[in-house]
Every structure is written in structure tokens, then in C-alpha cells.
């Protein structure tokens, strides 16, 4: 079930919370797993087959790895086999069944979590799960199935011991959930709507202004969609007593691409760092091997977004840029803060084009238009969209930067600020009303997980 839907917010979530808080602590984990499965299969029970099989495979393989742990070759073989088969099946399903109603959503998320778990057992970072239910909860934890964030099995098991469920964590969690929901249904959905409107214009007919607007709107759309889902996941996690990692930390207006990518989809990058780069390339002290490993990591991150040439090219270019910054630009960027911000903003926007254009030729046409060689500099359509949505774009920018957070943080320090902070519940109440209002709009709720 979609967590940003009226069905979930209005009917399911209150019922889930009520039951969860009423039943004894012992039964809670089981109840949560049960609800994960029910929510997953809601609307289409067949869909649950793939993740169930996946779960059983991981459970069995985890135990098997523990058994053959002395035999390094066998365990390496098992891990390699699992990685290959799971990546292959994920790519296959994602490429073939996207429009299919049987599409096992969240597949890109739990495949990575499952692989992380197996690799963790292989590297003896943690013991394999003996309790099947525990592993099921870890892999199919419904809040984070939509866009992450990914969390490691070690983090997960640690939380079990110090679970704190009380009214404060519940209200914290709900506030966070509502903020995430607002980011998704108020901002991301509107940006998505504008983006689809802009996509009706053929890129050949785009002026420089329209092309830039398209990428900016797309970057906002993607950002708020992913951010919204991860914040909702964190909020829900907190309601159920699990602390999930932060997935974004204000990536826009950072002074370098390195800083940008460090705060964009953090858990995903971290996953590839630990389970790919450090695993395969840590043995090589050689400079070139290190560089290759670095770029390859980004190629794979790109491929995770979609097994298509354009995503792979995106990852490759990011890898090169980051490496370049690491080797040559670091000192300059430290001195030239403003120039750094401009460079990062322009570069990242140019690269997002690869995300939404359907192929490289189309991306080329967009780039041509963005550099002013398309259909002129300004055109009427671009002006119309700019005038219509400037307020929304600016507020999107504002919320995306850390200015907003800084204000709330500064407020909580001063006395007067404290008094204002007391009204935060009112703010969240109003936000919930706004979310419900936005969810009434028809045909605006494209679900990102269709391509996740």
C-alpha cells in the first residue's frame, strides 16, 4: 500500500498505531511483520510472492554462510552467486514489469538491504538472523520500502534492545511523518504535475528558459519525492520505536559536487561504499586501482537508479567530477565559496537531464537548449510557467536549503523562540489539513516506486 494515500493516512495508520500501542511488547514485532505483509499484498496478493521467496532465500543463505564460515572459498562462492542472482532478477523485473500491477514495489530497496545483510554475515560484521521474523521485519519494513533509507542489519539489531515507546516519541514520529507527507503530496506532487506539463512540450521547441525550468522542476520533484518518502519512513519508524537513518541533508546550494552527493540519498551512497568499494578495492593501495574503484562505485549507483545507459553515464560523470574535485579542485573550492555553489548548482542541473530524458539524443537536445542553441532564449511558454510557479519554486528552494532548519533551531534557543515553538503542534495540525486537501487532487499522484 502506498503510504502517501488517503487509505493509509485516514484508515490504516491510526488502526495500526492503536493496535501496536495496545498489545504487549512481545507481540509487537510479530504484529509489525504481519502488517508489513498485509500492506504489501494489499490490492494484489500475488505481488507478495517475490519478496517472500527473496526473504526465504536470504534467511537460508545467511544460516548457510554461518555453517561454512571456515571454508572461505565456499562462502565467497555463495555470496558471489547470491549477489549475481539477486541483481540479475532485480534488473530483470524492473526492466520488464514496470507497468505491471504485479510489480513487487520496493524491490530496489530490499534487494540492496538483503545483499547488505548477506555481505555483512560473510564479512562477520554481524551474526546471521536466527529469528525469521526479525529478518522479515528488517527486509520488508514497510515505511522504508518506497524510497529508503537503507539501514544496516547491525543498526537494526541494536535498536531492538533499547526501544523506547512513549507519547513523546509518538508525537515526534507523527510530526516527522506529516512533514514528510507534506513534502510528498504538497510539494513533490505539484512539482511532478508541472514537470509533466512541461514534458508535453517537445524538447526541440524549448527555449533556454523552458529547458532550465524543466530541469529545475524535475530536480525539485525528484528531491521532494525521495525526501518525502524517507522522512515519512523515519517518522513512522519512530512511531513504532525504530530509528531510521537520515537520507538527505539539504543538498542544494552546497559548495561542491562532493558535498552535494554526500547529502543526497546518503544511505544509498553509504551502502555502495561499504558493500562495494571497501569490500572489493580496499586491498589495493595503488592509486589507479583506487580511482577505478571510486568511479565504478558511482557507475553502479547510477545503475541502481535504472539499468539504462543514461543512468550509467550519469553515475560515470558524477564519479569523474568527484574524483576531479578530490584531486585538483579541493583547495580552490574552499576559497571560492560562492563560485563553488554556482558550479555545483549548474553541474548538478545539467546532469539531472540524463534522469528524465528518454535517451541520450533527447538529453543532447535538452543540453543544446540549455546552452541557448535551442529555440531562442525566452519563449512564451517558459514565461507562462515561470510566472505561474515562481512562488512555488522559490519556496521549494527555501525548504530545500538549510535556512529553514536554521531558523527553527535558532528559535528553540531563545526564550521567545521557545514560546513560539510551543505552537508547533498547531503548525503540524495545519500541515495535516493541507496534506489532506492536496491529496484530494485527482491525477497528480504519480508514484515514484514504479521505477524504483
Amino acid at each position: 500500500m502506498q503510504i502517501a494515500s488517503l487509505t493509509f493516512v485516514m484508515l490504516v495508520l491510526p488502526a495500526l498505531l492503536l493496535i501496536y500501542y495496545l498489545i504487549p511488547d512481545k507481540a509487537r514485532q510479530g504484529f509489525l511483520v504481519l502488517s508489513c505483509f498485509l500492506l504489501y499484498s494489499y490490492g494484489n496478493p500475488v505481488r507478495v510472492l517475490y519478496p517472500s521467496a527473496f526473504l526465504c532465500y536470504d534467511y537460508g543463505t545467511g544460516l548457510l554462510l554461518e555453517k561454512v564460515r571456515k571454508n572461505r572459498i565456499a562462502s565467497t562462492g555463495i555470496v558471489c552467486f547470491s549477489v549475481l542472482i539477486q541483481i540479475a532478477s532485480m534488473s530483470y523485473i524492473r526492466n520488464t514489469a514496470q507497468e505491471n500491477e504485479f510489480f513487487p514495489f520496493g524491490i530496489a530497496i530490499y534487494t540492496l538491504q538483503g545483499l547488505g545483510y548477506l555481505i555483512g554475515v560473510y564479512r562477520r560484521h554481524h551474526a546471521p538472523a536466527v529469528n525469521f521474523i526479525e529478518l522479515a521485519l528488517y527486509l520488508l519494513f514497510f515505511p522504508s520500502l518506497f524510497a529508503g533509507g537503507l539501514f544496516s542489519y547491525t543498526d537494526f539489531t541494536k535498536q531492538k534492545q533499547n526501544k523506547h515507546l512513549n507519547i513523546i516519541s509518538l508525537s515526534d514520529g507523527l510530526s516527522l511523518f506529516i512533514r514528510g507527507l507534506a513534502e510528498k503530496v504538497v510539494l513533490a506532487d505539484t512539482f511532478g504535475y508541472i514537470f509533466r506539463e512541461l514534458q508535453q512540450i517537445a524538447p526541440e521547441n524549448m527555449s533556454m528558459l523552458t529547458a532550465w525550468l524543466t530541469t529545475i522542476i524535475f530536480s525539485m520533484y525528484l528531491y521532494f519525492e525521495l525526501l518525502g518518502y524517507s522522512e515519512m519512513a523515519r517518522g513512522l519508524g519512530r512511531c513504532f520505536g525504530y530509528e531510521l537513518p537520515k537520507n538527505f541533508s539539504h543538498p542544494f546550494f552546497t559548495p561542491s559536487m562532493t558535498a552535494f552527493m554526500k547529502s543526497y540519498n546518503i544511505t544509498l551512497v553509504l551502502w555502495f561504499e561499504t558493500n562495494f568499494r571497501r569490500l572489493l578495492f580496499r586491498k589495493y593501495s595503488d592509486k589507479y586501482a583506487y580511482h577505478t574503484g571510486f568511479i565504478l562505485t558511482w557507475v553502479f549507483i547510477g545503475a541502481w537508479y535504472g539499468v539504462r545507459i543514461k543512468f550509467i553515464l550519469w553515475g560515470f560523470l558524477i564519479g569523474i567530477l568527484l574524483l576531479n574535485e578530490k584531486l585538483f579542485l579541493e583547495k580552490i573550492i574552499k576559497k571560492q565559496y560562492i563560485a563553488g555553489i554556482v558550479y555545483t548548482a549548474l553541474t548538478s542541473q545539467l546532469l539531472w537531464v540524463l534522469f528524465f530524458s528518454s535517451n541520450l539524443t533527447e538529453a543532447g537536445i535538452y543540453w543544446k537548449a540549455m546552452f541557448g542553441f535551442g529555440n531562442g532564449i525566452l519563449d512564451q511558454t517558459g514565461i507562462y510557467f515561470l510566472v505561474s510557479y515562481i512562488a512555488l519554486i522559490l519556496s521549494g528552494f527555501y525548504i530545500a536549503t538549510d535556512l529553514f532548519r536554521n531558523i527553527t533551531e535558532r528559535m528553540s534557543v531563545s526564550d521567545f523562540g521557545q514560546k513560539i515553538m510551543n505552537f508547533m503542534p498547531l503548525f503540524h495540525g495545519a500541515l495535516l489539513i493541507l496534506c489532506l486537501a492536496s491529496m484530494l487532487y485527482d491525477g497528480q499522484h504519480e508514484h515514484l516506486w514504479l521505477w524504483m
Binding site: L6, Q200, P425, L436
Partner: protein, 345 residues
């Protein structure tokens, strides 16, 4: 505090929803249950209208010019129409070559073309005049086209399009009928002969239902009757699933009680409708149409002993297979530009 407040908001909305629940049909579990439930909640959530207006009004306040694909202007609501798609006359040409009965084509522009100047500056909008011209130029010689665009744009200041609905009014349809029926070899019934009754002076059409924007004045729904004219004797409606319903009149009075009052003109959409009149002139018309034609049918009825109405929206490209055209003396294609593009892309 937060929990209590959020709970209060939740409870209020839920109670509102439950109150509505008593009056509407709740989806019964089925294979599409999930989607239907979500759709049900979307339409029947407590305080739906208040919430919806809160959102749409605040969107308009921060600069947006449309709600749910409908441009908001001071005077009227105008449905957005935009695509790069080209259109041609292949379906009519194909039909004409096959059956060679006198064929007439009318493409009706929508309000977004006639009232283009009132749209927000630089808004995305298809040039329908150009499209209509292109389709007309593409027709085989022998097919006669009625230039509805120029008739309507010269009547621009009259009440030819509803303010809150995506269709044209009976008044607009009358003038196009007048020109068309002359081409088809009849004398049109003059405007003075009609008794016009206002069925509703508070008609809020489909664009209003989509946007709930109530600043635009509501519409007047008219019914034109020609007392001395021919009378309808039999109406047969044939639905897509094969069921047949008989009625004595084309009008459906029950529609006036519903949200979709425009349905009054021909009732529930069906695939094929056969209208017989007491005229005895052996003239039979085969009318391929979309819902724009609904308010023109009452005018056409005055000239034919039988009209067979085929709903292009339900038949799609397969329209020729629904009935045998060779039984008819004339054929007419009457369709809005948008539907022409949508159906025959």
C-alpha cells in the same frame, strides 16, 4: 499536545466522512478494491469541498492559473487543450470511399479557441482553427465541411459556450445547425419558431465539478421546442454490452436532479441510439458524434424520419462496424476537435 491535535484533525475529518458514508455507495471488495477505496475517499472525504477549495484557492493565490487542468478566468472556466498531435481526415475519407453516401463533416472548436484572448497570458493552447483547416483540407472532394469555427467566433459575444461546462450551449449549436442543414438540402427551422424554456438557471457543469471554483457565474440550461414541428415517436438505446432500452423521448429529465445536467439532452451515453419521428420523408441520417452533438440532435430531428446516432467515444475507430451505413441517405460526422484527436490518433 501534538498527538491530541493531530487526533482531533483526524477525528473531525473522519466523522465528516462517516456522515457522507450514509448517503453514498461504498465500494464493495473486488479486484480493484484498493483503487476504488482510494477514489471513494478522495471524493467523499469529510469536508471535501472546503478542503479542496482551501487547496485550489491557495494555489491560485500564489500565482497558479489553472486548477486540475482547467484555466480559471474571470468570465469562465476553460478546459486546457494542448498537444502537438497532427490530425487528418482519414476516418471520413475511408468511410466516404466505402459507402459513397453524401457525407458531412463538422469539427467544433472548444471554448479555449474561441475565447483564447481571455486565457492567461502565454498559456499552452492548441491552435484549433489551424487543426480544423488541416483536417478539412485533407477531405476527399465530395465530403462537405461546415465551418463551425467562423460561425462560432463571429458569435463570440453571445452565450454560445457554457461558463462552467466544457460544452457549447444550445444557442451555439443552433447556429451551426442552421448553416449545416442548409448544406444538407433543408430549410432550417427559424429561431423565432422555437419556444425556449430554462430548465435550470443554476447549472454548474463538469468544469465546475472538477475545480469547485464558484466565483464564475452558474449557467443556464435551455431546451428548445418547436411546437408545430415533427414529434419523436420512438427512441431505442443500444448499449455497448448489448442491452436495449426504449424511451418515448430523447430528453432525460432525471439528469436535471444529478450533478451532470448536460446529460439531459440524450440521457445516459450509449453506443447507438435510433430516433424515429412522425415525419414521412424517407430521409434517414446517420450521425457519428461525440457528446458535443447532444444538444444539436433536437434540431436535426425536425428533418428526418430516422436518425441513427453512433457514439464515437464508445466505438473508437471501429465505428463503421456498428451499423450498416448503406441504409441511410446522409451521413454526418459531428465531433469536437479534442475528441477527434483523442479518438483517431
Amino acid at each position: 499536545m501534538t498527538v491530541i491535535l493531530l487526533f482531533a484533525v483526524y477525528l473531525t475529518v473522519l466523522i465528516g466522512t462517516i456522515r457522507i458514508f450514509n448517503h453514498t455507495e461504498f465500494p464493495v471488495p473486488s479486484s480493484q478494491f484498493a483503487e476504488e477505496l482510494e477514489e471513494y475517499l478522495r471524493q467523499n472525504l469529510g469536508f471535501h469541498d472546503v478542503l479542496f477549495q482551501l487547496k485550489s484557492r491557495s494555489d491560485l493565490m500564489i500565482g497558479e492559473k489553472m486548477i486540475q487542468g482547467v484555466y480559471i478566468t474571470d468570465e469562465r472556466l476553460i478546459e486546457k487543450q494542448f498537444s502537438y498531435q497532427e490530425s487528418n481526415a482519414d476516418p471520413v475519407n475511408d468511410f466516404y470511399q466505402k459507402y459513397a453516401i453524401p457525407t458531412y463533416l463538422i469539427l467544433v472548436p472548444s471554448a479555449s479557441e474561441i475565447y483564447e484572448s481571455t486565457l492567461p497570458a502565454n498559456a499552452l493552447n492548441t491552435n484549433q482553427e489551424k487543426l480544423i483547416k488541416a483536417v478539412y483540407a485533407d477531405t476527399e472532394t465530395g465530403i462537405r465541411c461546415v465551418d463551425a469555427y467562423h460561425i462560432l467566433s463571429s458569435l463570440k459575444d453571445s452565450y454560445i459556450y457554457y461558463r462552467t461546462d466544457s460544452h457549447w450551449t444550445s444557442y451555439g449549436a443552433y447556429y451551426v445547425y442552421q448553416s449545416a442543414i442548409q448544406k444538407m438540402g433543408f430549410t432550417p427551422v427559424s429561431y423565432q419558431n422555437y419556444v425556449i424554456s430554462h430548465l435550470s438557471t443554476d447549472f454548474r457543469g463538469d468544469l465546475y465539478q472538477k475545480t469547485l471554483y464558484d466565483t464564475v457565474k452558474s449557467d443556464v440550461l435551455d431546451c428548445y421546442t418547436y411546437e408545430k414541428g415533427s414529434k419523436i415517436t420512438d427512441v431505442q438505446m443500444i448499449f455497448q454490452n448489448g442491452t436495449i432500452r426504449r424511451r418515448s423521448d430523447i430528453y432525460d429529465k432525471s439528469a436535471l436532479e444529478s450533478e451532470d445536467m448536460y446529460r439531459f439532452y440524450t440521457g445516459e451515453p450509449c453506443q447507438k441510439m435510433i430516433i424515429r419521428t412522425d415525419l414521412d420523408n424517407d430521409k434517414k441520417l446517420l450521425l457519428y458524434k461525440d457528446d458535443y452533438a447532444d444538444c444539436m440532435i433536437p434540431f436535426l430531428v425536425q428533418h428526418y424520419s430516422e436518425i441513427c446516432v453512433i457514439n464515437l467515444k464508445q466505438t473508437g475507430c471501429e465505428f463503421q462496424s456498428v451499423t450498416d451505413p448503406s441504409e441511410y441517405t446522409q451521413a454526418m460526422f459531428l465531433c469536437s476537435v479534442r475528441n477527434w484527436q483523442d479518438i483517431f490518433q
